[in-house]
Amino acid sequence: MKKIFMALTAAFMLHTASAKSVFANEGRKAGAIADPAEGWSRLFHEVLVDVTIMGVIFAAITIYYMLKYKRKSPDQVGSCKKLSAAQMWGWALIPAFVFMADDFFLAANTWSLWNIYRKPPAGSYEIEVRAEMWSWNFIYPGGAAAVNELRVPAGKPIALRMTSSDVVHSLYLSDFKVKEDCMPGRVTYYWFYPKVPGEHVLTCTEYCGAMHSGMYGKVIVMPQEEFDNWLKKETKA
């Protein structure tokens, strides 16, 4: 058991030490914009490896014990060993420190990514979002408006300022790995970074009544020029 535990600890330490900074800042040119969605995918992959190692080790030990210590005769009893004081403290403190080390490692990486998520880059294109039962209203600078279709230019960070005119909604862009609630009486925000033209799903992820699941639409990422033309047309209208 001691050996197994040492192996577990070693696997953790090695894993933690070998994992360099996993978020988006690494290897990026100075001045370039970090994409939160990319950072998300990298960190999620990292955590997936982390929890899989933990889970496999834990499950393997459990299965090993389950098979090894099957009862062989009806009168057989367990070994009922008592731990010495040193073993007791060891089995309390060492796992606690290993878990905490992993927690702080994950928390530090999450915090770095969090700072990217929560700080829209300078020069972001700002769009106002007003949610209502059961549609999304997008209002562009200059007054153009759209319903359920969020058209954005490719290659530009987009910042959304969001509020709601009735109940709580939540604007979820699953492909851009981000969401935040839209509430009456409060303004929330986030930003995302659409790089290539294409269409993505947007949904509502806070329960808002009968048509909650009908409150969906599209993010349409357009080439800058096309977007400018569309915006000009809509603004005039």
Binding site: V47, G78, C80, W91, F99, T110, V167, P184, G185, R186
Partner: protein
């Protein structure tokens, strides 16, 4: 029950005996489980295909969701663990003749039944509540659904829980048999004490939150109306300030029951018992009130608060990890017999492992921004709480079955039920993780925007049917055991714990007139010395 006690209808209704009250809690909570289980089947059938499948009214579907969530938690898990297990087992394990306040106990039982009846009214009232079990305003205030029914169900169940909590805490502190020192208590007793402590501190917060909703909707108050100076986020904070601790109210007695099962069927001492009690159960109680913001990572709270509670949330891994190490360590050097309760015991370890580890990405605020309120979360909390605790309830009920009924259940039926349950769970909720990662939000009546997920949804619906089959098998095994089971000996599992040191079922006063005096070298997990009768 015993031959010298009448067991007519009247004797059951007016009973103040903790064992009968426990059994009535069991009947009530299993009724609630079956009802909200049927809701789950309806929900999954609706999601079988794109577009309307079995109902074309989304509100009907939302009422099913409300029933499933609210009744599973308030009507099944909390009463089964803190009503049925705690009432039945705690006095027996501490060598008491009954609880401290038997009539208060009967009162909390009937309040619970009143709560079940209120929940059932959902099927009768013209505009049933459709506010989910969370009841977030402003929706719960503006909806035409009957939010009052929701508030009153929560309040009645809450009162029942507080009365039960005072009772069991007083019982454990003052009713222990002479010589039953704190250091000699069972793991289950510690977890019950911890769960009820949490319940007493936090239930009033939930009570105040749902009462404020009631005031807003029916009496014109404006707690949550920003147009009149209110704030919608107050409710979410209050609600989760209770409802995260509520997870531990459910989790702790369940894990305590799993410890009892694993120790008994391994015939082994609980590994590192003191550390599991202080570092596991104790630290969970201390940490439980400082993590609720992880339910609100996407609610626009201050960034520092979200980051701070991310750290506290990740720290939950420390006490839970210590408990899991103790659980697996108990298997080591044991003499394991895989009877039905033990299958649930070890099955719990794997289900809880999947649930616990998938909680780590959810605890990390940045990752949560993408998966919050998707099916990934639904899968996570079904593994970590819903299913793992249902395993504890099923396993514990099989474990206590001979004691409470005086009869044995059929092992074949019991094992069949377990394997169906396990397979069904992994098919349903294992698949649900992938659906969630693909962006499917929860509480959706339809998923037109994700047509590619239809096949995965079909797999989940099939998994739910397997779970349904498992539950039917389990119920049949219980009824079969009650009607045709062999007579149970007083200690069928060869346990050393005090609750088996009496007849099956125990008569009034629990120990057949004996006054239990606990010797100095008593240990409920002492298998290396011959067993004895106190």
């Amino acid at each position: 029950m015993s031959a010298h006690v009448k067991s007519g209808f009247k004797e059951w209704i007016f009973t103040t005996d903790h064992k009968r009250i426990g059994i009535l809690y069991l009947v009530g909570s299993i009724t609630a489980f079956c009802l909200s289980g049927i809701m789950a089947v309806l929900i999954r059938l609706e999601l079988w295909s794109l577009g309307p499948t079995i109902t074309d009214d989304p509100t009907t579907y939302n009422v099913w969701l409300y029933m499933h969530g609210a009744v599973m938690i308030l009507g099944f898990q909390i009463p089964a663990l803190t009503g049925w297990f705690a009432n039945y087992l705690a006095p027996l394990q501490i060598g008491a003749k009954d609880v401290a306040f038997p009539r208060l106990n009967a009162f909390s039982l009937w309040l619970f039944w009143a709560g079940v009846v209120l929940a059932l009214l959902t099927f009768v009232v013209p505009d049933p509540p459709d506010v989910m079990w969370t009841g977030y305003p402003p929706y719960s205030v503006v909806t035409s659904g009957n939010t009052a029914l929701y508030s009153f169900t929560v309040l009645v169940m809450g009162f029942s829980s507080i009365a039960g909590g005072i009772n069991l805490i007083a019982t454990i502190i003052f009713m222990r048999a002479p010589g039953m020192a704190w250091g000699k208590l069972n793991m289950f007793i510690w977890t019950v004490l911890a769960a009820f402590t949490i319940q007493l501190i936090f239930v009033p917060v939930l009570g105040s939150a749902v009462t404020m909703v009631l005031f807003d909707k029916y009496l014109g108050a404006t707690f949550f109306n920003p147009g009149m100076g209110g704030d919608v986020l107050i409710y979410q904070n209050l609600f989760w300030f209770y409802s995260h601790p509520a997870v531990y109210v459910i989790l702790l007695p369940g894990i305590g029951m799993i410890f009892e099962i694993v120790a008994t069927f391994s015939r082994n001492r609980i590994f590192n018992f003191k550390v599991a009690v202080y570092g596991g159960v104790g630290v969970l109680v201390l940490i439980t009130g400082e993590v609720w913001v992880h339910h609100l990572y996407t609610s626009g709270l201050a960034d520092w608060l979200r980051v701070f509670q991310m750290v506290t949330t990740l720290m939950i891994s420390v006490p839970v990890g210590i408990l899991m190490i103790s659980l697996v360590g108990t298997l080591r050097g044991g003499a394991i017999d895989y009877k039905t309760p033990m299958l649930y015991g070890v099955g719990f370890i794997f289900v809880f492992l999947v649930g616990g580890l998938t909680g780590i990405p959810l605890a990390m605020a940045s990752l949560d921004l993408a998966v919050h309120d998707t099916h990934f979360v639904v899968a996570h909390f079904h593994f970590v709480m819903a299913v793992s605790m249902t395993f504890a309830i099923m396993g514990g009920t099989y474990y206590l079955f001979p004691k409470m009924s005086g009869r044995m259940y059929s092992e074949t039926l019991g094992r069949t039920g377990f394997w169906l349950f396990l397979i069904g769970v992994f098919v349903t909720f294992g698949t649900m993780f992938f659906v969630g990662l693909d962006g499917m939000p929860r509480r959706y009546y339809d998923y037109q925007m994700f047509p590619q997920l239809e096949n995965l949804h079909k797999v989940q619906t099939i998994g739910t049917m397997i779970i349904g089959l498992a539950v039917i098998t389990i119920l049949i095994s219980w009824i079969h055991g009650l009607v045709a089971g062999e007579k149970a000996p007083s200690n069928p599992w060869g346990s050393r714990s005090l609750e088996w040191d009496t007849t099956s079922p125990p008569g009034p006063g629990n120990f057949g007139g004996r006054s239990i005096v606990v010797p100095d070298d008593w240990d409920p997990y002492c298998y290396d010395k011959p067993g004895r009768t106190l």
